[in-house]
Amino acid sequence: MKLRRFLFIFTVLQILFFTGCWSSHEVNTLGITVCIGIDKTENGYLVSKQIINPRAIASDKATMESPIVVYTTEVNNMAEVSSRFMTQVSRKINDSHLRLVVFSEAVAKEGIQNVLDYFARNHEFRTDYYFVVARNATAKEILGILTPIETIPGVDMYNSLNMSEKEWAPIKTIRIIELVSSIMADGKNPVLMGIEISQNKTSPKSTEVLKQSGEYKLLKYSNLGVLSNDKLVGWLDEDESKGYNYITGNVKSTVEHVYFDEVKITSMTTKVKSSTRVYLLENKPAIEVKIKIRQNIRSVEGSFDIISEENKQILNEMFAGKVKSSCEKALNKMQKELRTDVFGFGEAIHRKYPKIWKKIKDDWNDKFSNLPVNITVEVETKQLGEITKPLFMKEEE
């Protein structure tokens, strides 16, 4: 009995001291990655990682150090990355807090399939980071730029992408699950947000420069990159990006303006609902896109009586026309120029008419460019704002 008790205690103690802890890492032995940039080289990829320098962020010990460090290494394939980085960094690289993956245009054009496999397979990654494509710059350059206000550029870029998607129509965010599933899906292709360096005088590579506001390079999001399967085939401009988001129902709120004679009227969209309907036109599938917009008036720059029901009607139609033209522009570009179905029309046909879809599936890109698409936009103006008539409107008697 005594022996058994002794053995029991001994085994329990063994559990405490000889196993366990194998995956434990103190927070101050971690290098937390917030951004990964992938550039193309002759033999493979040039991978850059933006790693947080916690000492620079600690609030009570203000230092002049940079809040981030960008490490770069050349690898044959993505799987090598973590191991290769260990030769440069003294800390265990922790990728679980990744916020942003930046592809260079060259990588995106070549195809991102192989890279995505790594991101989808590795258990360390969460699934809440975004993918973007660098325009007119390498991914490494993008990662090296410091941002004001939010000290960590990766977090800054993540937050601004997050916020702008809600507030500005041309922005579209994409995470790994959506990206992979839309690459894999028949009759649907993904888009990736473009990121570029807005040209200013100096680039803030050290915190010194950040002391002068407005005098340095900033990062900004612009234009959507269109992927055919996993390859970048072209870019949509701002208006077309807007159209794309209207058709796919990805606009939460945005600002639109129209000119009525010389009067500029701006509205704030509060609710957008878009529905795609597939129907048969002479035994061939056709698409009907209905977009319903609810908006408030934000500004009226000139003399225009917006109270009258008649004028309101005119306004609604004008705004509808504006949105419709954006949508058609995007549609045209996709159908005629890029010949890629990013709207998911193919998928919609697949759902409704699976038999027809089987027949047209193989040359869908051709069929898509001739697909009849009918877009209708309805706009409803709800509120005129705190004031009704424009401030400086002259009363006509």
Partner: protein, 522 residues
């Protein structure tokens, strides 16, 4: 009991002969003086009744135990008796004295020498008369002791502020004053072979379950110990699971909460010499409840109960979770928080587990020191504590600020658990969980919690499972578990604890259903 087993027949006979009081008063007194040798407290006062003629009497008492004024008035009464004696020839014996005293004082007769000693030691004054085999004990105990004060360990804002004292009689009085029922039974027992401490068992007939009362009575009778100085002795000796750190008797300093427990069918154990009264069966959930719950609005009380439950889990899990998350599961922490923790931990020389243990142990030492210190130096402890725990450790970069916050939350939460013994038990479990978290992460915490819950399911409080009404699930009892239902909704007393009289209000007694459910519990 062991002692008696060893005695032989021969021993018994001599003991019996010894225990009888001799007719010769001098023999008795010599014997007493021998037994109480080196005890200068014993006072023997000889006198003669019938105007200093006739039989020799002796008045014996222990000086320090009796009240001087009572003794004085007794002797005055004796003088009066001498004068009043009209017939000089009348034989005054013990019965005569008994008749005389029993009218005004608590008096009793005895035959046994051993009981004579016990009576002497309980603060009685004893009368012996030559040629009489009886003695007369008149109560003259001094009433020294603390008066009824506000309890120091269980303070309330709303509710009665009187607390038990060290005197068992006054404690019984405090309960009796609250429950004026002939069904309230008080049984006296005695424990401690040397201390002969009075223990009383209180319960309400029919409301308390007979089996539970009987069980407690048997356990109390089985106690073998030389002394009982506090109710903690009793708890430890009659506990169901002696190895468990969790208290299975609720000790309370407040008469109102004991009265409440009695009304729910629980049994109270009062021990002479301590203001802490035990009530049993005590269930896990009771340790998170306060008597004040019933004095406030039921929604407020329910909210307070949730708050206490939250505090219970916080004090149990916060340090362990912090260790597990920062060591093993950094991906769970939101990015901004992780960055902030990483920035704080920069330059901290200890691993997170060490850091946590260091801080927790420092806090425990401070807490312990704060309790034992004389009150006058108490503030010094808090100053040093605040400086050491808070500022200096962080400023020196030895401890991260986040850890200080974790320890503070844990400490504050542990004070929100209303029962001190329960909060001690959780404190111990917390350290085990911290070690488990340091070794296995969240997985370790879960393993620890599983073992903890298994243990809680196993232990019982006087035959009632500790986790009732959660496990076994008793639906009706949810009225007074996490929520405190309005009083008009609480129609029945707790199943498994209360006896045949289960209805609180005048409604019909659900005897059948409750008995059925009771059987299911078993």
């Amino acid at each position: 009991m062991k002692f008696f087993k060893k005695t032989t027949v021969k021993d018994k006979k001599t003991r019996e002969a010894d225990s009888v009081i001799s007719k010769d008063i001098n023999k008795n007194i010599t014997r007493l003086k021998e037994d109480f040798a080196h005890d200068s407290d014993l006072v023997v006062h000889y006198f003669k009744l019938e105007n200093n003629r006739g039989l020799i009497c002796a008045n014996i008492y222990i000086k320090s135990l009796v009240d001087r004024s009572t003794i004085n008035s007794l002797s005055i009464e004796l003088e009066k008796l001498k004068c009043d004696c009209p017939d000089r020839k009348s034989v005054i014996n013990i019965d005569g004295l008994m008749d005389y005293f029993s009218g005004v004082r608590e008096a009793k007769e005895g035959l046994d020498y051993e009981t004579l000693c016990t009576d002497l030691l309980s603060g009685n004054t004893v009368f012996l008369i030559d040629g009489c085999e009886k003695y007369l004990a008149v109560s003259a105990g001094s009433d020294e002791g603390r008066s009824v004060e506000e309890p120091s360990s269980q303070t309330v804002i709303k509710g009665p502020k009187d607390g038990f004292t060290e005197k068992i009689n006054s404690n019984i009085l405090l309960i009796r004053k609250r429950i004026k029922s002939k069904d309230l039974k008080v049984e006296y027992l005695c424990a401690g072979s040397i201390t002969r401490t009075t223990i009383s068992l209180m319960y309400i007939h029919k409301i308390a379950q007979d089996e539970i009362v009987q069980e407690i009575r048997t356990r109390l009778n089985k106690i073998e110990i030389d002394g009982v100085l506090e109710s903690g002795y009793i708890e430890e000796l009659i506990k169901d699971d002696r190895y468990s750190v969790f208290p299975t008797f609720l000790s309370s300093e407040k008469p109102d909460s004991v009265a409440g427990a009695l009304l729910e069918g629980r049994v109270a154990i009062l021990v002479d010499g301590t203001p802490y009264v035990l009530t049993a069966p005590a269930l896990m959930i009771e340790f998170l409840q306060s008597s004040e719950d019933y004095y406030h609005h039921y929604i407020i009380s329910s909210m307070m109960r949730f708050l206490r439950l939250l505090a219970f889990f916080l004090t149990l899990l916060v340090p362990a979770t912090y260790i597990a998350l920062t060591l093993f599961h950094q991906e769970i922490i939101p990015t901004p928080l992780l960055i902030s923790i990483a920035a704080q931990r920069e330059g901290v020389p200890f691993p997170a587990l060490m850091e946590a243990l260091l801080m927790e142990i420092t806090f425990e030492i401070l807490r312990e020191a704060g309790i034992r210190m004389p009150r006058a130096i108490g503030s010094a402890v808090s100053i040093v504590g605040a400086l050491v725990l808070g500022q200096a450790a962080v400023e020196a970069g030895i401890i991260s600020a986040a850890m200080v916050i974790v320890v503070s939350i844990t400490a504050i939460s542990s004070f929100a658990v209303p029962n001190y013994e329960m909060s001690n038990a959780i404190r111990l479990v917390r350290f085990i969980l911290m070690l488990m978290a340091g070794v296995f992460g969240l997985y370790g915490i879960l393993m620890g919690l599983i073992v903890l819950i298994l243990h809680l399911c196993k232990i019982k409080s006087v035959t009632v499972p500790y986790l009732t009404p959660i496990a076994p699930k008793v639906k009706r009892e949810s009225q007074d578990t996490l929520f405190r239902f309005p009083l008009w909704k609480m129609k029945y007393r707790p199943i498994g604890i209360s006896g045949t009289d289960a209805a609180r209000t005048g409604e019909s007694n659900p005897v059948n259903s409750s008995q059925k459910e009771k059987q299911e519990l078993r």
